[in-house]
């Protein structure tokens, strides 16, 4: 039977990896991801998880090992943060095209410099174009649930792509909160054993990772993009089936008080909980405000975004990453492009906040709701709370 306990979110993610009967974990510890892989190494060491734990010498090797084990037909998990993801970068770009369904948990943390171990989204944004499915968790329960869903989606034969599960470093990874840990039988109902579409097998040899010259490269990249775009249907189906089994409904885009909202804040990750409370407080004052949250960032769920925010007068897009030398942050820029050709569109403005662990509060959102309504024709992002 499922058990509701107070547990650190990192440990809950590790428990989900255990419940998924993961075969191979290859990881290198880095703050704030550490507790996830520490707990997994304990679970493997004490025999409660029958998996190979490969303590590699770097994140580059972690992802290389994952590529190999996934291609050999093993359910494969790794986790990292920030500089670790940066060191993985070369291998990150390979996994989608080789169609290896690796699940990667990223405890999101700022990229150096200056050296910073705290939370923002600069790490994942640096590899957003690599072809991975990118999910963002809002709270601890969702972090556990999305871990199970990630395996299910990644390994679906129609998808066969790697998935990155993004959970905010510290703000999620180090929170103790109530989480329902499902029982094994129920997880098994939702997550079947991994049946690879192809696998490295010495009895039936094949080549993987071949050269793709000018006459192949374009088509290869396009084929991966087609698969990534098509995965949205499978993701939505997996969410529906997860609800059937566990009674928790997830959507690729979540709305809160947004239907009649004049001003909507669009955000990703755990800050949207704080934003919802800010909305409650503003609604109590009669203000028509709402929140829309992207649970799915790649593939970008364009139709669902338009449906969720298209009617608003003002749309304030939150970025947790500063794109140096560009007019807007990554999420801001994409929302601008989504609505560029729309005849009716919200007045879009872009706000950057919560960089390198700076606390994001209800007051920040109240400020943004006011600014978004007042700001017309913004030509560049605004950094909330920057001292200059």
């Amino acid at each position: 039977m499922a058990k509701r306990i107070g547990i650190e979110v990192s440990l809950a993610v590790a428990e989900a990896v255990k419940l998924a009967d993961t075969d191979v974990i290859a990881a290198y510890p880095i703050t704030p991801q550490t507790h996830i892989v520490e707990h997994l190494s304990e679970l493997v060491a004490d025999g409660s998880l029958d998996a190979a734990y490969i303590p590699v010498e770097s994140e580059h090797s972690a992802m290389s090992s994952c590529l190999g084990s996934s291609a050999a037909g093993a359910r494969t998990f790794t986790a990292t943060s920030s500089q670790g993801l940066a060191l993985m970068n070369e291998m990150i770009y390979i996994a989608p095209v080789l169609r290896t369904p690796i699940v990667l948990a990223i405890a999101n943390r700022a990229l150096s410099a200056p050296i910073n171990i705290w939370n923002d989204h600069s790490d994942i944004m640096s590899v957003r174009d690599a072809g991975w499915i990118c999910l963002f968790a809002e709270n601890g329960q969702e972090s556990l649930d999305l871990t199970l869903i990630s395996f299910r989606v990644a390994e679906d034969p129609k998808v066969s792509l790697p998935v990155s599960l993004n959970l905010d470093g510290f703000t999620l990874s180090h929170f103790i909160e109530p989480i329902e840990i499902p029982d094994k039988e129920t997880v098994d109902k939702f997550l079947p054993p991994f049946v690879p579409c192809f696998k490295l097998d010495i009895k039936a040899p094949m080549s993987l990772g071949l050269l793709g010259g000018p006459e192949y490269y374009t088509e290869s990249r396009k084929a991966t993009d087609d698969a990534l775009l098509a995965s949205k249907t499978v993701i939505k189906k997996a969410f529906a089936e997860f609800n059937d089994v566990f009674g928790r409904q997830y959507n690729v885009v979540e709305s809160y008080q947004a239907k009649d909202a004049e001003t909507i804040v669009l955000a990703m990750g755990s800050i949207s909980e704080t934003a919802m409370t800010a909305v409650d407080e503003l609604r109590a004052q009669g203000k028509k405000v709402g929140i829309v949250r992207l649970r799915l960032w790649r593939p970008l769920p364009i139709e669902e975004i338009v449906e969720a925010v298209g009617h608003a007068k003002n749309l304030a897009v939150i970025d947790r990453h500063l794109v140096l030398g560009a007019p807007y942050g990554p999420v801001g820029l994409e929302m601008m492009s989504v609505f560029y050709s729309a005849s009716q569109k919200p007045n879009i403005s872009n706000f950057v906040l919560g960089l390198g662990g700076r606390d994001v509060t209800r007051d920040d959102f109240k400020y943004i709701f006011d600014r978004a309504a007042a700001q017309q024709g913004q030509t560049r992002y605004e950094i909330v709370g920057v001292l200059e």
Partner: protein, 98 residues
Amino acid sequence: MKKPIDALVKVGDLPLGLCGAPGSTVAFKTGDWRSVRPVLDKEKCIYCGFCYYYCPDGVYQDMAPEKYYKADLDYCKGCGICAHECPKKAITMTLEEV
């Protein structure tokens, strides 16, 4: 001249993960790239195996129990490294007849 279509496979026809049948280089005979071929003087050969080890394409075969190594001319590209490394100068690079 207009550029001809230079893609070889349609997007939808690519295999998943771009995996392919192994061993395709066996069918890919590179011997015709050669302009000079290695010719061994068995009298000078001391069966040291330098040609075998140095060959970048691995075309030399150990002919044991006979005491020499033989280049597989289906694949030898005629680079001449074997001749250069042979301590007894037993290999001569000889022009291919056209």
